[in-house]
Symmetry: C2
Subunit: 334 residues, 2 copies
């Protein structure tokens, strides 16, 4: 196969584009896909301050590399989840990348901030690890962006991630999530007049036009050292099964993934917008009484966000007398 641009020997072929690329043109193609996504979905501008959630994996490091290359003002943010050697290795790789590229990096740790790691949180609350981890990441990424004065939180979700999420939302017809599944989500303001403040920072996903095979190839060809192992806690993860199912269909019919995702944005997303804006139960979005983050008031009780509730439960269980705590731990152990 030859490069579609220069006719030299191709090192990467992309079946859905029915095209091969040499190294230089593949890297250019990848950067172009990111630049096009940023432009098409009006994600951010060069004068915005971007905070990029960095996991040490191929997607976030490739995206960091590309955003620097495209001239954006981007700072990495590594959140240490305390998942043993996996977290240690991914943190080290994130720090190395920052040093090699003279890039700004903020490092925080769930344990230092809140007193528990992700595995501990799961054991203490009985919550599935991925669910507790997701809650922590969404909360901490947003908090860091607000505290450090960033305009946009950027994440490395690629086309496969978005397709798997979309597939899950469609299988369960989760209309509220379907109404919010966009490559960019605008900031959310709470309060009015002088009390108005950004409660949820703008979020953007510039890798939505690239599959994970492509971000991996980009990282490889750019010599980016990333953590290859998967998180040891995701085994049997539903998202993985959805990815696998759609990847099988992609193999027999290249383009299935991008068609499914782009078709949703073009022809269906608007049909679910009201479900995200106006939930059926007419709940009201208010500030969490503990931390001020937006949360949904479901009844007349005081409103506390999911993160603060989960943290309070974990903290309470951690300080309970040993026997009861140990029994709970055993029951819910990962």
């Amino acid at each position: 196969m030859k490069c579609k641009v220069c006719r030299e020997h191709a090192v990467v072929d992309i079946r859905r584009h029915n095209a091969g690329f040499c190294q230089d043109h593949f890297l250019e193609h990848t950067r172009n896909q990111v630049a096009r996504a940023i432009k098409e979905f009006k994600m951010f501008r060069t004068d915005d301050r971007l905070l990029l959630a960095v996991s040490g994996g191929k997607d976030s490091l490739a995206l960091w590399d590309i955003l620097i290359d495209l001239g954006y003002d981007v700072t990495g943010f590594y959140l240490d989840l305390g998942i043993g050697g996996y977290s240690n290795r991914s943190k080290a790789l994130s720090i190395s990348f920052a040093e090699e590229h003279s890039a700004k990096l903020i490092v925080r740790s769930i344990e230092s901030e809140h007193g528990f790691t992700v595995p501990e949180l799961s054991a203490l609350t009985g919550r599935v690890p991925c669910s507790g981890c997701g809650l922590n990441k969404r909360y901490e990424f947003n908090r860091a962006a607000l505290e450090e004065g960033f305009e946009v939180l950027v994440t490395g979700h690629n086309l496969d991630d978005e397709v798997a999420t979309l597939f899950g939302n469609v299988l369960h017809w989760n209309t509220e999530m379907l109404g919010r599944q966009m490559p960019v989500l605008n900031e959310r303001i709470l309060g009015e007049g002088n009390d108005a403040r950004v409660a949820l920072v703008r979020k953007a996903k510039p890798l939505v036009k690239l599959t994970e095979r492509e971000t991996a190839a980009y990282a490889l060809l750019r010599g980016i050292d990333y953590v290859i192992e998967e998180c040891p806690m995701v085994e049997g993860n539903t998202q993985h099964r959805y990815k696998h199912a759609i990847t099988q269909l992609e193999e027999s019919s290249p383009g299935t993934k991008s068609q499914f995702y782009a078709g949703f944005l073009r022809k269906a997303a608007d049909r679910f917008r009201d479900a995200a804006e106006d939930p059926e139960d007419q709940t009201e979005v208010v500030a969490c009484i503990s931390c001020g983050a937006p949360t949904v008031r479901r009844d007349s009780h005081e409103s506390r966000c999911s993160f603060c509730k989960t943290k309070a439960l974990a903290t309470k269980r951690k300080t309970e007398p040993a026997p009861r705590h140990a029994a709970r731990r055993g029951k819910s152990g990962a």
Copy 2:
């Protein structure tokens, strides 16, 4: 496992209901699921004359058996597609069923009616066999129902069929099809006042609450002799790949299929209704100038329906001089 009703030994287990059934209670459960679908979706009444499309397979014969048992006025309709031994065997089994149950059966043949079999049509037009076959069946089922004075056309589409179709429509975000994918479709009237006439008969799918594993078990336990082989022309059929993908997910998470389908009807179908009622291109539904069936006028030209266009093309090619015809045949061979 024990029967959930009588605690006797279970012969069938249905994982999504987390229940086992003995033979008698499984048959009762199956009939109940059909009766519930008919009632829930207001499909038809005991005084309606039903025409059931019978293929000789497990679904249509099981449904025929159940509808007779539930006291409906049902007549079978077997359409001979001319697919060699497969069609011969399925026709013979349909006729045997009718004789054994003293049931009414109408038999027609595509070749006698129109001058070509499904394999011939595919070779003559270059159309994928399943596509030409589907076109023929939709057309002929409706025509037979109208000509013979039936109020409702009933088909044996089961939950797996509907889920595979839904999945395909979602993967491609075929909004028009999503707006029409209901267990019952009301009749379509063309013309007004004295000219008004039913152009498309009401259609109903009473097996939507049963998987193909369940209809097969029903047929087996009732001693119904059905054609087990699959149509020899469906190999590589996209619908099959969709069924396979969702069946894998069902295995790790029982209930996925019924949740996907029922959730669509409950939470999403209405959001696509306008796409079926009012296509984006503002086309007009008119009577086909050849046969009178409803068709969409896409431009200022005279309107001929897909069936009549395909038939005209096949007829023209069949009578063309041999060489050109043979060349086309080779190019489009199945």
